[in-house]
Each structure stands twice: as C-alpha cells, then as structure tokens.
C-alpha cells in the first residue's frame, strides 16, 4: 500500500514550473528520499503534499486522502520537520511539547520522555536559545512523540554540523525502527540520505528522473574501466560518461545485471582487461545529473 501517491502533479509559480507532472508512490513503511539539487522542486512537492500549497494541476493523495482535503484527523498522523518551519521560539522545549500534546490523541508520554533523554534537550530552555541542531531535534521530537504514520523531513540536515547531523540521523533511524512508520526525507545531501533511505527518487528541474530502491540502484550502476579496448569500438546507447584516453576507456553502466552484462562486455571488447566497481549514490546522481544536463543542452542546440 502506498502512503503517498501523486498523479501528474504540477505546480507553477507564475511562469516557472517548479514541479512537472510528477508521478510518485511512496510505499508504507519505507524511508523514501527525495533527492535533487537546489531548485529541483523537492520542497514544493512536499508543500503540495502537506497542503501548504495547492497543486496547479494533477493530484496527490496522502494517507489515502486528497492532499487538498487533509484535515485534523490526517494531520494527527503526520509529522513534519522543515528547515524553514517557523517554530514558536518564545516557548521552552517543555512548553512546546505541552502545547502540541492535546492535538494528538496518540501522543505517547513515555516515548516523549525517552526522546527527550535521547536527544539531550534542555526542557526549560527557550527554543530561541537553542542551537540550530537542538532546534531541529526539538521539532523532530514534537513530530515523533505521537508516532505519526508518515514523517516528512524537508531538508532536515541544512546548516547542521557533521556531529549534530549524525546525531539527528541516528535519531531518525532509531525511531523509524520503532514501528511501521513511513519517512519521506528531502535533501540535496546525498551521502547523508544514503544511510537513511531504502528508496530514492531524483528530481531535477521539477521532473522525476529516477525512482527506485537504493539497493536496486546501487546494484545496477557500475563504473567500468577497460584497458586496451579494440580501436573502433564505440559505446552502447545507454552507457553514460563514455570516455577514451589512450589505452584506457571508461564509462558508467546503468543496467548492470551480473554475468549477463559482463558477457556482453567481453563480446564487445574481446580480451581487453575489464575492471568494474560499484558506485555510491552520490556518484550515481552526479552521473545522472551530468547526463541530464548534456541531453538538455543537446535538445536546446
């Protein structure tokens, strides 16, 4: 079952199309990462999903309800943490939790207590006096203590130093292990998300470039290096970043399927030495982003 589904979802700001006909499905229980460079349309997508913005066209369903009709009942099952969210900074951490609690029938006092201890948040300190990392933790705590079915994190790592970021990710990982929660996290920081997500989608220029599990993604991308490839052998149509320098030929194979793919390489390159290595998510996305840019430039030309 999908906890989020979008159908041809588009959102324009005047003449700028921030999101273009997005079709997305986030399965229940997954940690889904929405990746992409700045301005890719991640935050806009999330704002439409959270009914903070209406879609220009298309539709989105969140928790089985049209995003434009998200009511108190659905929001009681939704957690949202964003770098831009305006928290009531005049409140102390304790006051924030006391204020939020009555809105959620499923608020778990025990979990609240545990998370407070785990995040090491000073209860009596005003939010205005917390560091950015602490503030994000306080927001996360106020969005976790009622065990939401869906937790949405919009660029949660921005501006956090590595130690705090690590703490934060560990916190999310630990709580996501507590139950059947679905997490949607948007970020341009691929390395951090790699540790969290079991499924990723890549947005670029408001369009969806990719949507699959991290496992399958990392399984099908290989960086290949051929030494002494026969002259005259060109790249296959789907290879990316094809490059030849002297005796060395390099490319990225986006459809690696084990023995079958390796046999195809041998048939193409004969006795040449083939070396291949798996790629990190970051490398995969950089490769795809460059490829998209090249395609776009060619199309424009």
């Amino acid at each position: 079952m999908n906890i989020i589904e979008t159908t041809n979802l588009s959102r324009r700001y005047g003449r700028t199309e921030a999101v273009h006909e997005l079709n997305l499905a986030v399965p229940q229980g997954s940690v889904f990462a929405l990746l992409g460079p700045n301005g890719a349309g991640k935050t806009t997508t999330i704002k439409v999903l959270m009914n903070l913005l209406p879609p220009t066209s298309g539709a989105a369903r969140v928790l089985g309800v049209d995003s434009r009709k998200l009511g108190e009942r659905e929001k009681a099952q939704l957690g949202y943490v964003s770098e831009n969210q305006q928290l009531p900074l005049w409140m102390t951490v304790r006051q924030l939790l006391d204020y939020c609690r009555p809105f959620y029938p499923t608020w778990d006092r025990e979990l609240e207590k545990n998370l407070l201890a785990q995040f090491a948040l000073p209860e009596q300190r005003k939010l205005a006096h917390l560091s950015r990392g602490m503030l994000m933790k306080a927001a996360l705590l106020s969005s976790l203590a009622y065990r939401p079915k869906l937790l949405v994190l919009d660029e949660p790592f921005s501006g956090l130093d590595p130690v705090v970021r690590d703490d934060f990710i560990r916190g999310v990982l630990e709580v996501s292990a507590l139950g059947e929660w679905t997490v949607l996290v948007s970020s341009h920081d691929i390395e951090e998300v790699e540790r969290l997500a079991d499924r990723v989608a890549l947005l670029d220029g408001g369009r969806l470039r990719l949507n699959e599990t991290t496992e399958s993604l990392q399984g099908r991308f290989r960086r290949v290096e051929i030494t002494d490839a026969p002259a005259g052998v060109g790249p296959a149509t789907d290879w990316l970043e094809w490059e030849r320098a002297g005796a060395l030929t390099r490319f990225v194979e986006p459809r690696y399927a084990g023995e079958t793919t390796e046999r195809a390489w041998r048939e193409r390159f004969g006795d040449a030495t083939v070396k291949m290595q798996p790629m990190t998510l970051r490398e995969i996305f950089m490769t795809l982003a460059r490829a998209n840019r090249t395609t776009a430039t060619e199309a424009t030309a």
Binding site: K47, K75, Y99, C100, F103
Partner: protein, 518 residues
C-alpha cells in the same frame, strides 16, 4: 472547545506581559484623568483655561497610544500563527482553520476588549460609580475596542508578518480617509429637504453595515481558505461597495431602522399628552432688506401618571412649506426657543413637578429671500422628540470649593467671580462618565414655592478619555429681579439627563403668512 481554549491560552500566555502592560497603561491613564484637577481657589476662570489644553494634549496622546498599541498587539497575536505563508507552525499540526479563527477571536476579545474594560470598571467602581453607569460606559468602551480589534485581526489575517501588517494598516487607513471619510459627513446645509438628510443617514448606516459584514467576511475567508489575493479583492470590492452606497444608495433605510429601533419603546403618548397648540408663518425683513420666512410653533406637553422618571423635550424639527398651484417650496429647520434641548428637558422636568402642562416653543427661518405666492401655505413635517431619564443629581453649594458628589460624578466650584449683570458667576470643574449623550443642566430651584429657573452656562472646554469627561464651565447666576423673591431660598441643583429614545411628532397644518414690518 477544549482545543480552542488550549490555543487561546497559548496566545494569552504569549501576550500576557505586553497586554498586561497595555491594560496597566489604560488603567493608569484613567486614574490620572480622574485625579488631575485645575485646583480650587483660583480667582479667575481664564487662569484655569491653561489647564484644559494640557489635559487635552495628554488625553489625546494617551487615547491614540492606547488604540495604536492595542491595534498592534491584537495584530501581533494573530501573527503568532500567521494565516498567510507556508512555513507556519500550525499549518502542519491538526488544527482546523475554523478552530484557530475562533481561538484567535477569543484571545483577542479577552485581552483587548474584556481586560481593559474590566480594568477600567474596577477603577470606576473605586470612584463610586453605580453598576449601571459602569456597565454602560464599559459597553461603550468594549464596542470601540472591539471594532479596533476586529479591524486589526482582519488586516493581520491578510499579512504574512508585522511589516506587511503595518503596511496594510497604513494603506487601508489612507484609502479609508481618501474615499469613505469624504462621504461620512452629511451635507451641512440645514435647509436641505428632510428626506435628503435621512437619505444621507441611510447611506452611512448601510455603508457601515456593509463594512462590518465585509470585515467578518474577509476574516472568515482568510482563515478558511488562506487565499490572500482573493481576500484583498473581496476587501477592495467592499470598499467600492461602501463608497458606492455613500454616493448613490437611493432608499430611506434609516427611517425603517429607526422605526424598528424604537418600536419596542413606549411612545410618548403613553406617558404624556403632546399637543400642537399653535403654528404660524411670518415674513420678516432682515437687515439686507430681504424678506425671510419664519415659522413659530408651540406644543404643550401634559405629563401622565406613568411618566415618573421619564420626560420629553423636542430636539429639533424640520418642515416643508408648499403652496398649492405654485412651485416655491421652502424647508425650515426648527430649533427650540430659549435654550438647548437639555435646558428644555430639565425645565420640563422641574416644572412638571409643579405644573400640569408645559409649553415648548420651536422656531426656524429660511436662510434666503422668500418669494411668496398668495394663498394659504401647507406646512408638513415633523418634530423630533427625545424621551429622557431625568433626575436631580444633588445640590451644589455656591461657594468656592463647594462640591457635589453623585456616585462617581464630581462637580466642584473652582472660583466665584463677580460680573456686571449677574448675581455671581461660578467656575466649576466636573468629572463624569459620559456614555451616550448624557447632559447636565444647573437650575435654581425653590421646592417650597414650586419655582425653577435654568441657569445659563458657558462651557470653557471639555476633554474626553475612555468615556470619562472633564469639563470646565461657567454658570451665570442671574441677578434677582424684584418679582423673584422665591430665589432667596432657592438652591442650585444639578439635573442629569440621559436620553432614552427618539420619536417623531408629525406636523400637518395650513397657515397664511403674516407680513411683519420689522
């Protein structure tokens, strides 16, 4: 309801300190206003006149500060959870828009209407005002504060932050002054036909009603849909509608509204018999040799058994004079003869204690030359009569330092002057609650001989703040005439008059114009 109160409580806690200081400021300024005095024993009234401008400046500053600070704080309370924007905390929490709206209105009402009203009520209770007086003054203050707060909440609902809120306020105030304000004042031509005056009143009434509904509509729209562009468009449409109504509303709604307002009141006929005794038309030459048309009317009122505590006096009148088979038409505004409406009412009350019937005299004239056709003129129109609750507040000793305290209302003789033609001139200072159109009249009264005389007065100035008024006035006690021996035992009484309802007594008469030589 529990969640509404929960949200409101959060806002109350947030605004407790600034709103508390604001209420303290209001209460403090009320105490200052109450205790500030010109001081007794001053020999000349003119010497005290310097006190009034200072009072007026400070009172105006305090009043403006109260409203501006209150307005800003009410807006800030709404902007705690802005309606506009996508990064607002409450939007991603299970808080229904309607619930938030009710919670905000509740918090605003408690902090910016109830709290200052209660604060002032306590001050007034300590001053000795009666619960009835306090309630009326509190109600008036609550309405004013409520209107300012409602406007503030509406502008805040259209704003993303404090800067936009301030800009919105300035822009709306400017547009309001440039458009609505221009049509707020009815034509001052007192000789315009009566229907026109009522039409202007109708336009103001309907436009204000539409504006009030518009504020509610924009507020509801903004909180429920959060679509700001449409919110501004609705507001702009309402402004346009209000201006159009003020310019072109064709129906006399005011009369219908006034009729429904007074329908529940007991008509004067139930309390007293009011008879049109005489109506006459005169044509007088004025000093520029133009001949003006003047109308005199005399009414008599005979108080009935049920008129205890309620008295009547004409406020004004207006008649149209026409001739059959002739085009001239003159409209005349009628005023009371020999004093203000309050004087007439007070005298009616005092004389009504002793005499079975009291006469009212009304008169009025055209402002320009009247070309009169021959024949009998038809006079049609009506006289505006107010019923009022009248009571003698007490006796004021006619000596320097003499005081009259009635509930919290205070009258104090600051100085006794002598002046040619007058027995004495009393300079008095008064502090009183002034809700509605209450008026005070001083009169010499001899209960034994059953005679009364209204003392003419000259108001040196008045300052209002939060429904309380400080007044300096001179009372001119006339020199005793040989036939006024009753005045030797007379006391100076203060008569307090609170208008209750307005009625209209129709005139319908025919009269020939009497040509006067001077």
């Amino acid at each position: 309801m529990k969640l509404i109160w929960h949200i409101a409580k959060k806002d109350l806690r947030r605004m407790a300190l600034p709103a508390g200081l604001w209420v303290a400021f209001i209460v403090g300024s009320a105490i200052w206003f109450r205790t500030a005095s010109a001081g007794t024993g001053i020999q000349s009234g003119e010497a005290m006149v310097g006190w009034l401008p200072m009072m007026r400046i400070w009172a105006q500053l305090f009043t403006i500060a109260q409203f501006i600070i209150g307005y800003l704080l009410a807006g800030a309370l709404v902007l705690e959870d802005p309606v506009i924007g996508t990064d607002t905390f409450w939007l991603t929490r299970p808080i229904a828009n309607a619930r938030l709206l009710v919670a905000k209105l509740l918090a605003v009402a408690l902090l910016f209407v109830v709290a200052p009203a209660v604060g002032l009520a306590l001050v007034r209770l300590a001053c000795g005002f009666s619960p009835g007086e306090i309630w009326q003054a509190t109600r008036a203050l609550g309405v004013n504060m409520g209107l300012a707060a409602a406007f503030s909440v509406m502008v805040a609902s259209l704003s993303r932050n404090l800067v936009q809120f301030l800009f919105g306020f300035v822009a709306l105030a400017a547009v309001g002054v440039m458009t609505m304000g221009r049509f707020l004042v009815p034509p001052t031509d007192q000789f315009a036909p009566m229907e026109w005056a009522e039409l202007v009143a109708s336009r103001i009434l309907v436009a204000n009603f539409v504006l009030g509904c518009g504020i509610v509509l924009v507020l509801g729209w903004q909180f429920l849909t959060r679509r700001r562009v449409w919110g501004w468009l609705i507001l702009a449409s309402i402004f346009v509608a209000c201006v159009s109504i003020r310019v072109a509303w064709p129906w006399n709604t005011w009369a219908a509204w006034n009729a429904s307002e007074t329908a529940s009141a007991v008509p004067p006929e139930a309390h007293a018999s009011i008879v049109t005794k005489a109506i006459s038309l005169h044509r007088y030459p004025d000093r520029f040799a133009e001949r003006l048309l003047q109308m005199n009317a005399t009414l008599t009122v005979t108080p009935g058994r049920t008129s205890v505590g309620v008295w009547y006096a004409p406020a004004a009148g207006r008649v149209d004079i026409t001739w059959e088979n002739s085009t001239p038409r003159y409209s005349i505004s009628l005023d009371r003869f020999g004093g203000s409406w309050a004087d007439a009412c007070a005298l009616a009350y005092l004389q009504g204690q002793f005499e079975p019937a009291i006469a009212w005299h009304l008169f009025g004239a055209t402002s320009s030359r009247a070309q009169l056709p021959s024949g009998e003129a038809r006079i049609s129109g009506r006289c505006e009569i107010w019923s009022a609750r009248v009571r003698i507040a007490g006796e004021l000793p006619m000596t320097s330092g003499g005081e009259l305290v009635e509930h919290g209302n205070l009258s104090r003789v600051m100085a006794v002057e002598s002046s040619i033609g007058w027995d004495k001139v009393l300079v008095i200072e008064e502090h009183e609650l002034n809700f509605g159109q209450a008026a005070e009249v001083f009169a010499l009264l001899n209960r034994r001989t059953k005679q009364a005389l209204v003392v003419s007065q000259n108001e040196l100035g008045r300052v209002d703040m939060n429904g309380e008024t400080a007044v300096l006035r001179r009372l001119f006690v006339p020199a005793e005439r040989p036939d006024e021996t009753w005045r030797r035992d007379a006391v100076l009484v203060k008569v307090r008059i609170e208008p209750v309802h307005r009625f209209f007594l129709p005139f319908e008469a025919h009269a020939r114009v009497i040509e006067e030589t001077r």
